[in-house]
Subunit: 168 residues, 2 copies
Amino acid sequence: MGKGGNKTMVLSILVDNTAGVLSRVAGLFSRRGYNIDSLTVGETENSEISRMTVAVTGDEAILEQITKQLSKLEDVREIVELFPTTSVCRELVLIKVATTHAERTELNTIANIFRANVVDVSADFMMMELTGSTNKVDAFIKLLDGFEIKELVRTGITGLTRGISVED
Amino acid sequence: MGKGGNKTMVLSILVDNTAGVLSRVAGLFSRRGYNIDSLTVGETENSEISRMTVAVTGDEAILEQITKQLSKLEDVREIVELFPTTSVCRELVLIKVATTHAERTELNTIANIFRANVVDVSADFMMMELTGSTNKVDAFIKLLDGFEIKELVRTGITGLTRGISVED
């Protein structure tokens, strides 16, 4: 561990939409033994550019070094750190829960409270979709603890800076 | 191009939560010159395992080869192809649009029609969040064509197989 202490950092990275960029970015973290908490990469309004959102926890000083190295990659165009106070960060989760007929009503109530959508129902399963902050998604999953979660997928964090900067 | 013709494939991949796995998976695609359309990787109900969702378009025969190579990676536990008829696939998009006061009402109407959430408003900008199928997200972005989109981020596709298999 270095000098800076641990932090969780969310980076929004604009990259050229090339075949190797994802593996290069991921490689920068893994070569330092850094496990990415989550990563999403998808298209932007410009088909030649993709936007990556990376969440990573680790030593502050090393994360700073990695960010500097990232900015030197040829296909990286812009790196912005998303801070909780100046950005909107969201996650999407899909959860498939095993249900009896009796449990379905209770699950539906939980879904309503969290404004989650029920996206699939079958005799034995119910699938729900929720979009929200990481805290909200965590709380939702925790509330489903008593049920049998069959499968769960989270996109990981994505986000944009707010319209008005509240930084100094 | 090979024999199989082009296809778009969505793979749901369960992997060990190791530092190098993302770079290894991404590398398998990029070494073949394959540009991943989107990728999300996030936690599952088990902190030692992550679930990756990869969308990729390309030659069917080569994609099959890549899938086989993926399954041989030590930290890959399971690969499932998500088919439109037997799975629920979703994307999350955040869009920041420049707005005048007059445009705000129109934007709000569009948001309501798509059940998008307005997540941030400032004097000059409005940020909206939408979760839906790729088609729905595409349609929403298209409808915003007349506005000035300042920033846009998509998580890319994530999904789970439905409760009942409708495959033969």
